[in-house]
């Protein structure tokens, strides 16, 4: 299952979904979430999802259904505008609030501290971006983010390389 979470102002996720559909019988099951009009707050760092209501975010807004889908997906693609060469704050808010998927508990993995994951299944993470993204930095960030989730990076693709990203989804 592939999940596309689109926060872009140009709604480029739609074109990616169409490209996926054109893949015919090779097309994986997928869902496109366009966050336009949704109310998704930033993470407030309350730590409730670790220490008070483990696994559940304290903020009651439109985010939880997205997180539930992210937790079950095989691939999560963050479809984002860029600013300062990085993903938009809208996309960063979505990533910051992924914390209910990890627990407070710690371990060492590959020589570094990591949180113990809450669930057995972890989604791989990829980025598709519009604008003047810093490709090298975004790749580094995506790899590190996947490391935090105990999964792997699917890579980072500019809008113009959207077809390449789609080939990773098949």
């Amino acid at each position: 299952m592939v999940l596309l979470v689109d926060t872009t102002t140009k709604h480029i996720g739609k074109a990616i979904a169409e490209e996926l559909l054109r893949s015919g019988e090779n097309a994986p099951g997928f869902e496109l979430i366009d966050t336009t009009g949704m109310h998704i707050s930033h993470c407030v760092g309350c730590n409730y999802c670790w220490l008070k209501t483990p696994g559940v975010c304290a903020i009651q807004d439109d985010y939880e259904p997205i997180l539930r889908k992210m937790s079950k997906a095989d691939q999560v693609w963050l479809v984002s505008d860029t600013h300062f060469g990085f993903v938009s704050w809208q996309t960063k808010n979505i990533v910051d609030r992924i914390m209910p998927l990890v627990t407070m508990y710690l371990k060492f993995k590959d020589g570094q501290m990591r949180h113990v994951m809450r669930y057995d299944h972890q989604p791989d993470i990829g980025v598709i971006y519009t604008g003047d993204g810093d490709q090298g930095y975004l790749e580094r960030w995506c790899q590190r983010t996947a490391l935090n989730l105990g999964s792997r990076s699917l890579g980072v693709y500019s809008e113009s390389n959207g077809k390449e990203a789609v080939s990773c989804m098949l």
């Binding site: 299952m1 099951g29 930033h42 993470c43 407030v44 760092g45 309350c46 409730y48 670790w50 220490l51 008070k52 209501t53 483990p54 696994g55 559940v56 539930r68 889908k69 937790s71 079950k72 997906a73 600013h83 300062f84 060469g85 990085f86 938009s88 704050w89 809208q90 960063k92 808010n93 990533v95 910051d96 992924i98 209910p100 627990t103 407070m104 508990y105 710690l106 371990k107 060492f108 020589g111 570094q112 501290m113 113990v116 809450r118 669930y119 057995d120 299944h121 810093d134 930095y137 580094r140 960030w141 590190r144 983010t145 935090n148």
Partner: protein, 222 residues
């Protein structure tokens, strides 16, 4: 020197680890007769005031917690509201995290290194330090004790070289823990730390295991 210190944490100031760190750092500034004014972005109501201080001053320090390998979303949103300035303004950072090793903060630091250029200002360096998760749950006396090393960094910053001096680089501590330390800490994580976290959770009113699988995955149902 007069420093505008911006707390870039989304957490309310009352419970902000970054706020405690800033308090210690500012004490160090004061000892060197450096003045400062502090702000926090956690309340949007203050954003106009913070932006105004950013525009009018030329020595800016943003202190922030690492959120998923980079700056918190709320801080990114605030940064996008800042106007471009010129190289007369110097922008420095104090980046802190819960994870203890220096390697955990390098991805965030790399973003901060490039950020001033996007804003048109000069980079003043980044003080990097982990192992700050528990500050908020300590009593006041212990908070002062564990944040005291930041006071020395405030004094160092007041000397005018930003965070480029060797002392600031050493402040981070080890990039990775050596294997014997990892083995020992790993054991603590599985035993004492688990109990400590569960105890802290109980004091917050939590009655379920901290690793509760609340949405036990029905992946077929996707």
């Amino acid at each position: 020197m007069h420093v505008v210190i911006i707390n870039g944490s989304p957490r309310v100031q009352k419970y902000s680890n970054t706020e405690r760190i800033i308090a210690a750092f500012a004490k160090g500034l004061s000892e060197k007769k450096t003045t400062f004014e502090t702000y926090a972005i956690s309340s949007r109501k203050t954003w106009d005031m913070i932006r105004d201080a950013y525009i009018k001053n030329n020595e800016i320090l943003i202190a922030l917690p690492l959120y998923v390998e980079c700056v918190p979303g709320l801080l990114l949103e605030f940064l996008q509201t800042l106007p471009k300035k010129d190289e007369h303004t110097r922008l420095s950072f104090l980046l802190q995290s819960g994870f203890a090793e220096g390697c955990q903060l390098r991805c965030g630091e790399a973003f901060l290194e490039k950020l001033p250029e996007y804003l048109g200002v000069r980079y003043g360096g980044c003080l990097v330090k982990g192992d700050n998760f528990g500050i908020r749950i300590l009593d006041e006396e212990k908070q002062v004790q564990v944040t005291k090393p930041y006071q020395a960094m405030g004094k160092l910053f007041a000397e005018g070289d930003g965070f480029f001096r060797e002392e600031a680089k050493k402040f981070t501590g080890p990039e990775y823990f050596p294997l014997p330390v990892r083995l020992m800490m790993g054991l603590v994580f599985k035993t004492l730390a688990k109990k400590m976290f569960q105890k802290a959770a109980a004091s917050w009113g939590c009655s379920v295991p901290l690793d509760e699988k609340v949405w036990e995955t029905d992946r077929k149902g996707y």
